[in-house]
């Protein structure tokens, strides 16, 4: 299945975005031959209680063939309560976290505790290394992404698949050793805007087999990620679009 691992429905709180509902997302995917998505709720990312966004999303995508990544803020007390409510209420396939928005590093005991819970569920964790264009959102000041703290965490022997979403190409270069050598670490394509030939750059860095497709739609233009397939070999495109994490 051709999958978009970084897609959302719901409103971006600071800027009006178009086609923010599930139909809009599906239409965009259909137009480009994407068959499914690991979708999350923008509401859940920003709400004080993410479950309120996730229960809504679960009802919306039920029976659609799309998968659900629930949003978690590990800094909230009793993260296990969020997971338990989700377990009891709907099906989901992954966890999505937003450290730059919620404001923690990867050495935070709350994050580590959450990650152990995720491992207990054997569901992948999608980590957003940024969330929107931090240069432009002057109403939301994001905590800078801490690559070194993530590296230390990844060295500690995690077993779960981890997808680094919204990671910039330069940061990928900094993480190249992990992306090459850690079988469970992947990156998505949503932030390849700083290079004309980003997939070539990634091949040169040696981790082309760790790239999954992620658009960060509807916050970013869907095509901004998808256009990196132009001029690429069909095998490369298929490899990325059909890479299976869940």
């Amino acid at each position: 299945m051709k999958t978009d691992y970084n897609c959302f429905i719901g409103s971006w709180p600071f800027i009006k975005r178009r086609q923010v509902d599930f139909d809009g997302l599906r239409r965009m995917h259909e137009r480009h031959g994407i068959e499914t998505g690991l979708v999350s709720s923008l509401g859940a990312a920003f709400y004080n209680d993410s479950f309120e966004g996730d229960i809504e999303l679960a009802q919306t995508i039920k029976g659609s063939g799309y998968s659900h990544a629930i949003s978690i803020n590990p800094l909230l007390p009793n993260t296990g309560y969020d997971i338990k409510r989700a377990d009891e209420s709907f099906e989901y396939d992954a966890f999505r976290i937003y450290p730059t928005v919620h404001g923690y590093n990867f050495d935070s005991p709350r994050f580590i505790e959450f990650f152990h819970m995720a491992a207990g569920k054997n569901k992948p964790v999608l980590i957003h290394c940024s969330f929107g264009d931090f240069r432009l959102d002057y109403l939301l000041r994001q905590k800078p992404f801490e690559a070194e703290s993530l590296k230390l965490f990844l060295k500690s022997g995690h077993k779960l698949p981890v997808v680094l979403c919204n990671m910039k190409l330069g940061e990928m270069g900094n993480m190249a050793n992990f992306l090459k050598n850690d079988n469970n670490v992947y990156v998505d394509m949503s932030e390849m805007r700083h290079s004309m030939f980003a997939l070539d750059d990634i091949s040169g860095m040696g981790f082309a087999d760790k790239v999954v497709f992620g658009s960060f739609y509807p916050v970013f233009d869907f095509m901004a990620a998808y256009i990196h397939f132009k001029g690429e070999d069909l095998n490369v495109i298929d490899g990325i679009l059909k890479r299976k994490i869940i």
């Binding site: 800027i15 178009r18 240069r135 805007r193 004309m196 233009d221 095509m223 901004a224 998808y226 256009i227």
Partner: protein, 245 residues
């Protein structure tokens, strides 16, 4: 046809940049590209000369494809000499970057020369929540300059950085055009701009060689008629810079 009005060679990697630009133009059907060469934020006279010579060299190598902006630092006393030398050698416009705000009094004679030569000035403008440089212009500075010089053809780069800050500053000023070069990829940015300034004042630019595919993606994803697309891709550029398809 596509005309890219905003691209660069970076002095420390210009051979790589040329290769990327040439390969990209072929891949995406860009038939004309307007280049300026840049290096440090606060260049000395030698650096300005070096950068402009890089641009002239690239123009000479690919005369049908590559056109040039003469890069001028408004804080330099020889700025007009540099400007006229570049235009004399066939450059098509003037580029100002981050050494001085674009409404600085030292830009006045540059603006007057651009009007005299009937060439546009490409102004870097970026409103940043973090990392803003001391003399980096925003769309508010562009607005001040444009109101002072209503006959000056101004291209405000990057939609002013943040489209919601930038476009409101130029919406009611007819001599300011804007390009959406750079790495902003918010859905709907082009349509928001279109709603505010209309299709005759939007220009296609990439900011190559540092990225740029997303700029084509934005046009392709925006809700545009073919006529609007044509204007953005090349017709507006032909009108401002002159030349035929």
């Amino acid at each position: 046809m596509i005309i890219d009005v905003h691209a660069h060679l970076w002095a420390n990697q210009y051979e790589d940049d040329k290769n990327i630009i040439l390969k990209s133009c072929e891949l995406f059907g860009i038939e004309r590209i307007y280049i300026s060469s840049l290096s440090s934020y606060y260049p000395d006279h030698e650096e300005i000369d070096y950068c402009n010579n890089l641009t002239l060299g690239f123009m000479k190598e690919h005369p049908k494809l590559v056109y040039g902006y003469v890069y001028v630092d408004p804080t330099h006393k020889n700025r007009i000499e540099v400007l006229e030398k570049g235009l004399d050698k066939g450059m098509s416009g003037v580029k100002l970057w981050v050494a001085a705000k674009c409404d600085d009094y030292r830009v006045d004679d540059i603006a007057e020369k651009c009007i005299e030569w009937n060439v546009p000035v490409l102004l870097h403008a970026f409103y940043k929540a973090i990392g803003h440089l001391e003399y980096e212009s925003t769309a508010e500075n562009v607005r001040c300059l444009a109101l002072r010089y209503p006959k000056l053809k101004i291209i405000m780069a990057h939609l002013g950085g943040n489209v919601y800050h930038g476009i409101r500053c130029i919406a009611d000023i007819g001599n300011v055009y804007t390009d959406f070069s750079g790495t902003m990829i918010g859905t709907g940015d082009i349509n928001y701009t279109l709603g505010a300034v209309g299709e005759d004042r939007i220009l296609f630019g990439t900011d190559m060689a540092s990225g740029g595919r997303q700029c084509i993606a934005q046009v392709e994803e925006a809700e545009l008629t073919q006529d609007q697309k044509d204007k953005i891709y090349y017709k507006n550029a032909l009108r401002i810079f002159g030349g035929k398809r």
